[in-house]
Symmetry: C4
Subunit: 245 residues, 4 copies
Amino acid sequence: MPAPILSLEQSLHDLVVANRILAHEGVVDAYGHVSVRHPLHPDRYLLSRSRSPELVEAHDILEFMLDGTPVNGAGPTPYVERFIHGAVYEARPDIHSVVHSHALEVMPFTIGDIPMQPVIHVASDIGMNIPLWDIRDHFGDTNLLVSNLAQGRDLATCLAGNGVVLMRGHGFTAAARTLVEVVKASVYLPSNARVLKEALLMGAKVKPLSAGEIAIRATVDPYSPQIQRAWEYWALRAGVKPYLD
Amino acid sequence: MPAPILSLEQSLHDLVVANRILAHEGVVDAYGHVSVRHPLHPDRYLLSRSRSPELVEAHDILEFMLDGTPVNGAGPTPYVERFIHGAVYEARPDIHSVVHSHALEVMPFTIGDIPMQPVIHVASDIGMNIPLWDIRDHFGDTNLLVSNLAQGRDLATCLAGNGVVLMRGHGFTAAARTLVEVVKASVYLPSNARVLKEALLMGAKVKPLSAGEIAIRATVDPYSPQIQRAWEYWALRAGVKPYLD
Amino acid sequence: MPAPILSLEQSLHDLVVANRILAHEGVVDAYGHVSVRHPLHPDRYLLSRSRSPELVEAHDILEFMLDGTPVNGAGPTPYVERFIHGAVYEARPDIHSVVHSHALEVMPFTIGDIPMQPVIHVASDIGMNIPLWDIRDHFGDTNLLVSNLAQGRDLATCLAGNGVVLMRGHGFTAAARTLVEVVKASVYLPSNARVLKEALLMGAKVKPLSAGEIAIRATVDPYSPQIQRAWEYWALRAGVKPYLD
Amino acid sequence: MPAPILSLEQSLHDLVVANRILAHEGVVDAYGHVSVRHPLHPDRYLLSRSRSPELVEAHDILEFMLDGTPVNGAGPTPYVERFIHGAVYEARPDIHSVVHSHALEVMPFTIGDIPMQPVIHVASDIGMNIPLWDIRDHFGDTNLLVSNLAQGRDLATCLAGNGVVLMRGHGFTAAARTLVEVVKASVYLPSNARVLKEALLMGAKVKPLSAGEIAIRATVDPYSPQIQRAWEYWALRAGVKPYLD
């Protein structure tokens, strides 16, 4: 699975598409964001200025150092929570894309003690183990936003080698090898949450995906037609061109 | 956080936008309404004539005295429940905007004895304490509408210094320092209700927002870019210009 | 509350609007229908040919005798279940409009033993008592469709003097004094079902509307601006003109 | 109920319409597919290339042998899971159309031990007995996709003479005499799942459809106006012409 060499132009286009997809599929609303590691400078990442994802265009996208410093210091207001992204890229060289979301279907698993488990095959990218991070544990009362590097690193530590970390009363952060993969995980995590929740409510003895099933599914090439098919579909639904001409 | 000086023209524009946002986000349907305190005459408020919020335009908006009397007595039919708004403005000089809604996701918390609690950070504007008012307690059998000043004042007394009051079998009333803030609280209260409800149904031991978290979040400037970002997004989704040119 | 004298042209227009509203609000889908008593011949009613409500136009509407016989015998295929409508008009001279729907939110109350109760004020038109009819009780195994006059009359007997009758595994039939009123009841019955269901699931001690509240609400003039406001809103959302020019 | 003689052109048109309907009604998303047995060669079937159903057009549709071999070997990438379709056509000469879906409302019944039952009349095509297949039972850890003929045949064996088979953590496969019928079953199975689930959650003593009711409903001619009415409605909603001119 050699990743194609991406140009900056390609990355910017794909990131705009990802913003629109996540908005259209209800993964993000006024809040939430998605980034990619810079294709030419692995110690930087690309992320929109402080704007709702549905409205993001290529000229809104800024470059950041992993510590959250804008490469162009005189730019527009960035997202307060950009530290989530940099801290994950810093801790995880294998990760090339990060999503932060408040999707409501996931939230009930963040405010209590019911563990998230992978139960539907399309959500296998979320992995076997989905940790829950509470900003209050190490930082006491805050506005709940991950607004500095120390908080970002604490979150990345809790994420560890997994694909998703839940955030108490706040949402989740997903990390993956490619933008398409993180978008897929972020679209299907809420679906997985809903299915698990409804099965639990009915009192079902739940049969989660097995570690073996998840491992086998992770060998799928993220550039294969069956994954790209979803990207094409989501992009066209959101009214944007899936690929740069 | 000094509030900008608003002109009447600005207030009318913003109020139309708020009507459209609340309709588009499903907070109001054929019924429900939103008002602002008059920017020049703090003893008056602005509220549409009796029309569904999705259809409200600037020329539908009327001026009322705090007791519900139309400033222009010969105008079109007003909302029966305008007394909600005036009574809140009368009791709470700090309040500049009020929403009344029947949002279904909130309703299960109004017809029983399960208390609403703040659990998701975007809903922190609803506050720690969300009282429940039953018109039957002091007024016996009625049509459930707050249709005179005595009923409005009784509701305002129950609201007290809080941000939201639930109304048995009827809906909720939210009050805030600014129009943007009351719209945000009204959009995210139903989300909070849904998340809390689903966590309770799964039998979770729920961890609500703390008083400290809510207090810290309340220090956010309602005119900051991160709040305005939501206004811009909701307005564009609803098909209206967020700001007066 | 004297009803305005309606012309046939007016009734046809209003009935098309009602079809579109019920489809747009999700009360009916491919199936379900709405009728009005003929404004000039109280022993007849108006109902579309067998067509999905979203597609119904004025020229699709047929006249029927109360026994379900088309006034024009050579017309297009009628709904199999037209007997619901005629039987209600026959039994209830006070009724001028009938809706039959399969709305999913109501269905859980039709397949078990959990009684529907009125809990939200906008749904007060459904009344205090909502009986449940099972076609199997008197007719044994059938295709569940009310496909002859005997079945229609049995349903009407179960409806008795109430506003709504639930139908096991099938849906509901609502009956009211006016078309606007039956549309309102049909839009808000599913909402009421959802709110009641969610409160019950949380284990709430439910406080229904009282008989006094329902009686007071029933005195509202169905031609008043606050009721017409909903009609205007629903029609415009559904893309049709609320009123005949 | 003699089936009309269909031309290949007619089958291709109808299959495109079915793809669009299933996408628009939320039965399939980026994934899921629908096929028809070839109208002239009963040992072949028609199925799109690997494309999301909402985007499928007539030129995307390929011909396959029942073992999953493309008739035109040099064609575009097929669905990995085409073996579902061929194996069902092989085992069931009475079946002329197959749908495979991941509809979320059905999924809670696939990951636990709560049996699906038919409870709403519009879903009677799903039948009395809805088996649950787990690919892990005979094939151990896999990627959960039915990606070879042995797996397809195992699924078809579990389906046996029924109309629907649930697939653990994956979705369902529905099979019927006609395309219209399998689309109807696939649209209403999720509705049935939702209604059953909500009744169970309320603790209702559930009254399913009886075997007699299902048998009587199965005698309806799938080419009758009351079935075609749904096809017309769903197609127009999805923005396609229901019938070939």
